[in-house]
Each structure stands twice: as structure tokens, then as C-alpha cells.
Symmetry: C2
DNA sequence: AGTTTGATGATACGCTTGTACCATAATGAA
DNA sequence: TTCATTATGGTACAAGCGTATCATCAAACT
């Protein structure tokens, strides 16, 4: 048998190149040749590791979402470390998720742009319809709702509100603010203020 | 001079065809030939009335936004007529705008899909960067903020809150819920419930 | 009545796209 | 060493795109 190479690493490298290029040139306008050039490999290699463009798009999106999850978790740990000694609480976790969705630095801006582009594509392209983005968003909603329930049991949050509805609302706000910042209709600070305001409403004690 | 034809009408007809096609096939994937076929005219005519594709896109988007504004105003009048005799108040106007942004029927769904697609395009395509969508969204925010201010002066809304920040938050929620419904992460009823909840928070008396 | 000019049709061109195909260097097992 | 298989490169192809060009029909003004 011939030369063995780390396929996972190569796929990650190429997927990264796709994300990098698509963030500036647009997801739909990014061709396989461009990805190959950005990754420093030949067009043939992109085909070899991903076959079709659709599979490349799907893999790249899963990669993007995975990185988002990691950053959100890291941010939750960071937010918790700054105040208490115990594990990250509901408020920290939810705040971390919402803040991570805001395009405040280049990495998050890239995520926001690509999420929007991918959503737009998946709305009309039947091949992307069973999108990883939708599934991922759904599980994030579940996480937030779960944290809200935990906070309710702990008495940190009003018992009257509906955790699922509040979770949906929070993520909708985060998504909406993200596009608002992206399109220049609001500043990052304004968006953060709206998030803080809604969090204060849900966690009255943490003020 | 030769046959005179209503240019505005023709342009509207072609722009409508673009919107209709792009709502199902995707904005980026809709070509000029497809638009021509959908409008029942020749490719040459599309070129004649719009010149380049970019101008067609811009004109179609302005048309889409204009129709959205008209529907929102009609909805505001409708909401007001059901309850009082006077002119539509701040609550009715804001509720109408937020509800109109929700993809509850085919027309609003088309609007939501195309807004998303156009936003995604304008984020990376420098030619669409000075987008009518951004400008329009900004003026809608101003309208909402103005209505909130009026409600504050009338005592219908807590005096403590920041009208601009609340307007930004409301439209972010509407936009976020719209994408949430589009991607199947929530039902229209859930989204409407979130909107009603936020409106009740701002207009305690109208409950 | 004629002619100028706006409105429309048909078609060709250059470019880019995704994909497929053919070739070959390199390497672990026999 | 030989061989079979993985990994890689180069290139060709058909289709689609936006745009430009050439040609024609029809009506309003002189």
C-alpha cells in the first residue's frame, strides 16, 4: 500500500480554505478552483477529498458549526472564571452563546456572514435543505431552554416564563442582532446592550 | 416617434418575475434567461429595461421593499379598525410591522426568503453593498422608535426605556424569528407568541 | 407619406463553472 | 524486487452565465 496521509487533517485544511474564501467572496461565488488555490492544493485534490461541491459545502459548514460550539464553550468557562469558583452557571452559559453569535471580531464576523450565506442557500437549494445549520440551531435552543429550566429550579429566574419560548426568543434576538450589526444598522455595543437588557430581564438577581 | 409603452409597468412585470423565480430557485441561481421566460418576454427585453443584472437586482429589491411597506401600512390600518375609531396608534403600527415580517403566508414567506438571500449577497458582493435593504431597515427602525417615543409621551409605555434600543431589539427579534420559522426551528404560532410577549412588556396597558 | 426613433427579436461570444478522465509518483506488503 | 494501491497532477468537456451585436417591426411627428 502507498503513502498514507492524514485525511482528516487535509479535509480540515481544505474546508478552512473554503470558509476563508467564502467569507470575503461569497459562498455561492466561491468555486472549487478558488478553494484549491487558497488551500495551496490542486483542484484534483479538492475533488479527491470531497467529491462534489455539495459535500464540500456540507463538510465545511459542519466544521464551522463545530468551531462555533467550541468557542462558545470556551467563552462560557471564561465568563464563569471571572466571577465564581464553581462550574459555569445558566446565566454564564446563555450569555456566552448569545455573545459568541455577535460579529464583534473577525472570527465571529466570518461565522455570522457564512451562517447567513448558508441559510440563504439552504432555503432554496433542495440539496442543502436537510441542513446541519438547522439541526445545530435546534440543539442550541435546547441547551438554552435546559439552562433556563435549571435556573428556574434554582430560583434564579422567574417561575412564570416558558423556557422553550424564552430560549427561542433569545436566539432570535441574537440572530437578528447579528444581521443588524453585519448590515451596519447597529453597532456591536448597541447589540450587546440589547442582549444585556434581555438577560437582566430573565436573571433579575445577577444585576 | 414609435410605439410608446408603459416602461414602469413593464419594469414592474419583469421585476415581479425575478422575485417569483428567485423565491423558489434562489436569488443567485436565477439567471436573466429564466427571468425573461417567467415574465413571458425575450431575454433582450430584460436587458433593454434593466441593462445589467445588478441593476435588475437592485430594482427588484426596491420593488419588494415597497410592497412590504404597503402591506405593513395596510395591516396597521386593519389592526386599528378592529378596535378603535381613531388613527392607528403606536401599538398597532409596531405590531403590524413585526407581524408583517413573519413568514405566515406565501407572500410574506417570499419576502422573508428574498430578504435573507439579498442580505447574504450584499454582505460579500461589493456592487450590492450600498443596499436598499439596509437603508430601508434603518428607516423602519426609525419609525418604530418614533412610535415608541409617542407612546411614552402618551404614557402608554414605561418612561424608563430607551426607544432606539427597544426599536432595534424589536426588529432584531422579528428578523430572527423570521429566519427561525423559515428554517423550521419554530412554528409561526411560537414566533407570534414571542412577539406578543415582547409587545406586552412594552405596552402593559394594552393587555 | 415618409422618416426618424423607440421597442423588440434572434443569435453569437467569451468566460467560468462543476465534473470526469487519463496519467503518474510514491509506498507498504509479497 | 515487484506489485498493487493510495495520493496527486494536468487537462478536457459540456453547460450555463452575462453581455454585446446585428437586424427588424411599428408608430408618432414633420
Amino acid at each position: 500500500m502507498p503513502k498514507r496521509v492524514d485525511h482528516a487533517e487535509r479535509r480540515r485544511q481544505i474546508a478552512d480554505a473554503l470558509l476563508r474564501t467564502a467569507a470575503t467572496r461569497g459562498l455561492h461565488a466561491t468555486g472549487m478552483r478558488e478553494v484549491a488555490a487558497a488551500a495551496g492544493v490542486s483542484l484534483r485534490l479538492v475533488q479527491y477529498y470531497f467529491g462534489t461541491k455539495e459535500q464540500l459545502l456540507l463538510a465545511a459548514m459542519q466544521h464551522l458549526l463545530a468551531r462555533f460550539g467550541e468557542r462558545a464553550m470556551a467563552r462560557a468557562r471564561l465568563g464563569q472564571a471571572g466571577r465564581s469558583g464553581g462550574p459555569a452557571g445558566p446565566h454564564d452559559i446563555i450569555a456566552a452563546i448569545l455573545t459568541e453569535a455577535l460579529p464583534a471580531d473577525e472570527e465571529r464576523r466570518t461565522f455570522a456572514i457564512l451562517s447567513t450565506a448558508y441559510l440563504a442557500l439552504s432555503l432554496t437549494d433542495p440539496a442543502l435543505a436537510i441542513a446541519p445549520l438547522v439541526k445545530n440551531t435546534g440543539s442550541v435552543i435546547d441547551v438554552v431552554a435546559g439552562q433556563l429550566r435549571a435556573a428556574q429550579h434554582a430560583g434564579d429566574t422567574p417561575a412564570g416564563l416558558d423556557p422553550d419560548l424564552e430560549a427561542l426568543g433569545l436566539l432570535a434576538i441574537a440572530a437578528g442582532l447579528s444581521t443588524s450589526v453585519l448590515s451596519g444598522n447597529s453597532s456591536v455595543d448597541q447589540a450587546q446592550a440589547v442582549i444585556d437588557y434581555q438577560l437582566d430581564r430573565l436573571f433579575p438577581a445577577s444585576r
